[in-house]
Symmetry: C3
């Protein structure tokens, strides 16, 4: 893929300073950009890097200094415009049709535009919408409904009877619809609680590589519209994850957790069962939520509490050696005073 | 699947109050149950929800209040009986035989009742017992022995030379028999320690989606009868996990760990190498075990210690600002006293 | 596999005491070794175990006591020599060629010595070097380059356009080249930041089961020569992991992290975005790195700091009840002193 700088400028409606005929073959960071790549500088703190670099062109703000000899593309929001340019270089997904080595059950219902990779397996009564891609080795179980324009990565597993909306991305190796983890102790053994529920994943959700979403014991485990989930995340049975939630890698939830819209979870954070986290709350990385988190709260720690409080406490802990020393010194001073006073009293008539 | 309420009542030997002809098509929670679903109420705290809900029937205790107009099934243990009713709605696994797109090595030995899904691969000298199901895309390596009535999920991987008992469930995406993580530094590089051992998984064990169990360096990594393991758990080489242990999601162990019978591990907990956890011990979620845990102990924290002590310490930490303030005030009071006393002494003859 | 003890002795150039004709069929631990197995004792603390065990032979140090009746192999470094003997018992990987049920795209370029398992899928323009093994069910995407003597485990996924050196091991279920986790909030939704970069894995790297390595947003996510990574590890986009690094299970990194050569990460540790860890640094298990770690530093804790300091602080926390008690007692003593002094002053003329 390659564009002239003029084409790039036109696409993002930027103002060009320099040579519009230069060929742009890719994007890169300010440090990494080579002579055929475009990059961006957020502000003039990066002036030195811009002038010393070898990038073919640099996207800069309107008020960025003039740099004769550099090809500049002036725009009002360099970071956002650069993201638009990045999108010019995305290789479109190939619609390759159904591979001859895919296995499609007779009772499966695939839109004629669906692509299925080699050694992928589509089970009976699966229903797959237009332009959806099922990559090689993926498994789509019985009674699974997948909407349009979805992408199911290589070797991902969608177990029976789950519902997936439109434009959903399930990355490679993710397993959706595993049984909730529930056992009852009966006399002398753990007895499995049947896991009869389902999973519902709404439009525009993205789920990362090797993540797991368990089916509900009864009812549904739900992930609502626009939520983005990173790799190796575990969503337990009967969770209700709101809209536009961000969940970073290795997060883990327990059963029956409720998450409000636009909440954000840092990597490796986790939450105990039956708790809820309010809208717009932010749970810091590696934090361990063991009580409800209010809407808008910013929490951190093991266990999680107001982030400010955790860091205040950490600061107090750091001063414990000094505090202990002070207390010890006071102990001596007290004894000294007591002695002095006793001596004084004994001297008085 | 559907039953008349009479049939359900008879199956669980409950006492019916109401219309036995109503059709029960599923189970659900008290909040979620629709007009064709049965639910349960553990006690009369849920009386309002029961009377305002639209469930087809409710399983209640013998002493639950009368509710004319509701279909009640009276039993002595509503929660347990409801689990029995849930089991009436479990779809039996289909025995579909060996799929034409499965790959079975000539030297593999499968009982004639075994089912193997499309694109599953069974290697040489694998031995698979009666009524076991190998789902689509799963891999069973050379010299693997699997007992009867097992379920191996889609895209699960059982590497060479491991032993699996009867009624074992390995969920989708789990990998059993990976090499233990062992390297020795030789002069200028990490040299791999050969991982020659095996994995033995006993009867009635369940292992969750995308979990890993590593083979032993020498000897076996062992998971004993009845132990239940959730998703994304990592069991390292040479672990010996006892019977009826419960291990929640994202738990991780290091090498040569020993776990006693019926121990319980909360989600995201972990344990350092060569440690042991005694029978019936409980390790709280996200706890980090860095020394042995005694039988029956209840531990929590990073690092893990008696749960009661961790929470006591957390409470003391929370009081540190007040404590520091007190010490500061005492400092002033002490100086004041010292001054007063010095003044007094200087005034005395 | 079996060797006479004479053959073993000759291979490791040890000095034999006992019967060189005894047959050695395997290796085992001192506790577990049976009558056809060889084991080792690091020093004479294990004398009792050696004399009471039933091992066919024991590798011991030059100065280990004489033990008539036991077959001893004397060497200068028993642990290292034993590892050499273990290597005698490693089953060589079978080169089975390309399985008839593998799916190889027409434009893929495989050396004629490559092995590909059943239901593995090799996409267009993939390039695979000599003696590399692709196990059953694995996926190799378009434009992936894999060097010589590599091993790609069952159901592992190598997404498009990544570069892998020689002698690299990617274990079962690992996914390499997933999209970095990056979204920008645009007005009313999370907008995906294109992930245009790649992954480069250098020679002699090993990556564990179900681990994930994400591709870079731009440029490459790099794992350098000789680094060893355990199971269920997550390496985020644009990480630069140095040479000979050791990363234990369930470690997780955020974006743009830099790790120096020979750094060591304990299991379940993690690190926030854009941070760096210096050469030879050691990050303890379950530690949470939220600021840069200097070369050679040894850190532990949540958050991570000098390990010594974390344990000092934990000790101070443990003494908080006593400290609080002391402060309370001082409070009383102060009040007592104040009263006494006031009384004294009031009595004075």
């Amino acid at each position: 893929m390659a564009y002239s700088l003029n084409e790039v400028c036109e696409y993002v409606q930027g103002r060009l300073e320099g040579d519009g005929d230069v060929l742009i073959q890719g994007v890169n960071s300010l440090d990494g950009a080579g002579t055929a790549e475009i990059t961006f500088a957020e502000n003039d703190r990066y002036l030195d890097k811009v002038s010393s670099g070898q990038a073919a062109a640099i996207v800069v703000a309107e008020d960025f200094p003039d740099l004769p000899g550099c090809n500049l593309v002036r725009v009002s929001n360099p970071r956002f415009v650069f993201m638009q340019i990045m999108e010019m270089f995305v290789t479109p997904l190939e619609m390759t049709g159904v591979h001859s080595k895919a296995s499609i059950a007779g009772g499966a219902n695939l839109d004629k535009t669906v692509s299925v990779g080699a050694c992928a397996v589509i089970a009976d009564r699966a229903n797959i919408g237009a332009h959806t891609i099922i990559e090689a080795g993926a498994y789509v179980g019985v009674d699974v409904a997948i909407g349009a324009d979805c992408y199911i990565g290589a070797n991902a597993v969608l177990m029976k009877n789950i519902q997936i909306g439109d434009r959903v991305v399930i990355h490679a190796g993710a397993t959706i619809g595993g049984e909730g983890f529930g056992f009852a102790w009966l006399k002398d053994h753990h007895h499995k609680v049947p896991q009869l529920g389902s999973v519902q994943i709404d439009d525009d959700v993205e789920i990362g590589c090797n993540s797991c979403v368990d089916r509900a014991t009864m009812g549904v485990t739900r992930i609502r519209r626009g939520t983005k989930i990173d790799n190796q995340v575990h969503i337990a049975h009967n969770n209700d994850i709101g809209e536009d939630v961000i969940i970073a890698g290795q997060f883990g939830s327990s059963g029956s957790v409720t998450i409000g819209n636009r909440a954000v979870f840092g990597g490796k954070s986790c939450i105990a069962d039956h708790l809820s986290v309010g809208e717009n709350a932010q749970v810091g990385g590696a934090s361990v939520v063991i009580k409800d988190v209010e809407a808008g709260a910013v929490v951190f720690g093991m266990p999680a509490q107001a982030k400010r409080q955790t860091f205040q406490e950490l600061a107090y802990i750091k001063r414990l050696p000094a505090l202990s020393k002070t207390v010890k010194a006071q102990e001596k001073a007290l004894q000294q005073l007591q002695k002095q006073l006793a001596a004084l009293i004994s001297k008085l008539p």
